[in-house]
Symmetry: C2
DNA sequence: ATCTAGTGTTACTTTAGGGGTAACAAATGT
DNA sequence: ACATTTGTTACCCCTAAAGTAACACTAGAT
């Protein structure tokens, strides 16, 4: 009674493959250490009638031990063992699945010209992929220090192997990062600040051009982020051109 | 068409948290690399109407990228990334869950006298636990070399630190294992061979007594295995006595 | 021995999520 | 202008899991 069950724990166990009631019963039993069906029911509010079958299932899975009798007593197996078992089985499944998927997809040609990515994780993932693939030149425009910072490690590595051109909208806000930044023209800065199309406001946060053939633009629409990957060489050359005009003339690198 | 979808792969992906249709759609897209909703539908037989929402969900999860248009094109993200992400999230969940469970259960007192274990895995687990806890003496009866063999490694370690008494029903069948075995009396051998209670046949496969205070008996009922753990010192002393009478008199160790 | 409270089982209802089908508006192509 | 395809919506169906209620059986109490 005093120790109310942690709903977060229940939902975690559900992610590990138990049903809600199974999770509740197991947690109840771990709390009580050793108990009858009724005691578990009273602690967890799982219908008493259900507790019996649940415990049977859990016993068959090896999650608990049984002492026959009236009433029957149950005892939880050490969670470390149980969770360890679940983990091992899951990891086996992971490697097998990956192998099976790889049989289907020889290697990804990354063929197509324009792609839109809608998941936060997918965007970061793709950015890292592009950074990892950059060989010679990397042009980056950023208006969000926080977001850029997430890739600081990768960028520092890249700084050794290829030409890094970092363009930002306000120098001061990026002063904490150990890179040489350039600033865009005021004109450009104002024009990019808040783009509104069809009533929705776009906010360009990051733009990367790698080796003049691959680009990714990240912008937020409302509170959602979205990214567009463009792989057509022509488009990227064009965009390179734009960015070279976007910089304050005095800051343009000569050898570019 | 030619590359029929591997149902094993689908069920694996389901274990990793996708629904059946999500799995099919994803596998279809990985196979096609880049495709429209219709193409995925034709390859996987997932109703076309469903494909759209499925792909939306998968895109939001970051499993694929989108090229807007009519028709909209979809592209699978490298499975290594996706499965890796799923794995990481799962492992996070595992450690969090374990911590939460451990907050509930300080340490398991393993108090109670008699417990029954019904899962194959749970039995082996408990046997190893008992072996690990043995300090001085270990009496083991086995009638199944295959089963005993599973614990060969543990037993070899134990042989150095405590008195190992291995009793078997037929010496020849255990000749492949590097231990000194003793044989039971014919009388006992016959009596234990096939015990029938209430029409069901019990087959005692393994019996362990550790330090005269903890015992586990494993027997098969029909094709199912079951184990009984007994932790009452009295019972175990009694059983030790029985086993000392069970051995051929000539084989009894003097200092026992 | 009888009564009663608690144990264990069974059958039924409800609910939610996933899957399948059909119909339709919008977009595209002829 | 028409036919086809795309993308969306509204349904139905089925199942797994959760919740409910009733009942036979046991064990202890009187």
């Amino acid at each position: 009674m005093f120790s109310q069950i942690n709903p977060q724990l229940i939902s975690n166990l559900e992610k590990l493959g138990l049903t809600e009631n199974e999770a509740k019963a197991y947690v109840g039993l771990v709390s009580l250490r050793e108990a009858t069906a009724r005691e578990i029911h009273e602690l967890t509010n799982v219908p008493r009638a259900k507790v019996y079958e649940l415990l049977k299932v859990l016993a068959k899975k090896g999650y608990l031990e049984v002492r026959q009798g009236t009433p029957t007593y149950f005892r939880a197996v050490d969670p470390k063992q149980i969770i360890g078992k679940i983990k091992d089985e899951f990891l086996d499944c992971v490697t097998e699945t990956l192998n099976q998927l790889n049989e289907l997809s020889y290697e990804l040609p990354k063929s197509s010209p324009v792609w839109c990515i809608q998941s936060e994780w997918g965007i970061k993932n793709r950015i890292r992929e592009i950074l990892a693939g950059a060989k010679e030149e990397l042009i980056i425009f950023s208006s969000s220090p926080e977001y850029l910072q997430e890739f600081e490690a990768e960028l520092q590595k890249l700084a050794k192997t290829c030409r890094l051109i970092l363009i930002v909208n306000e120098l001061e806000r990026f002063s904490s990062m150990p890179f040489k930044f350039r600033e865009v023209t005021k004109e450009f800065k104002d024009s990019i600040n808040n783009i509104v199309i069809d009533g929705t406001q776009y906010n360009e946060e990051l733009f990367i051009i790698a080796d003049g053939k691959e680009s990714i633009g990240v912008h937020s629409v409302g509170n959602k982020r979205e990214a567009v990957v463009i792989r057509m060489p022509i488009v990227c050359y064009m965009q390179k051109l734009i960015y070279s005009k976007v910089l304050e003339p005095s800051l343009i690198k000569k050898d570019q």
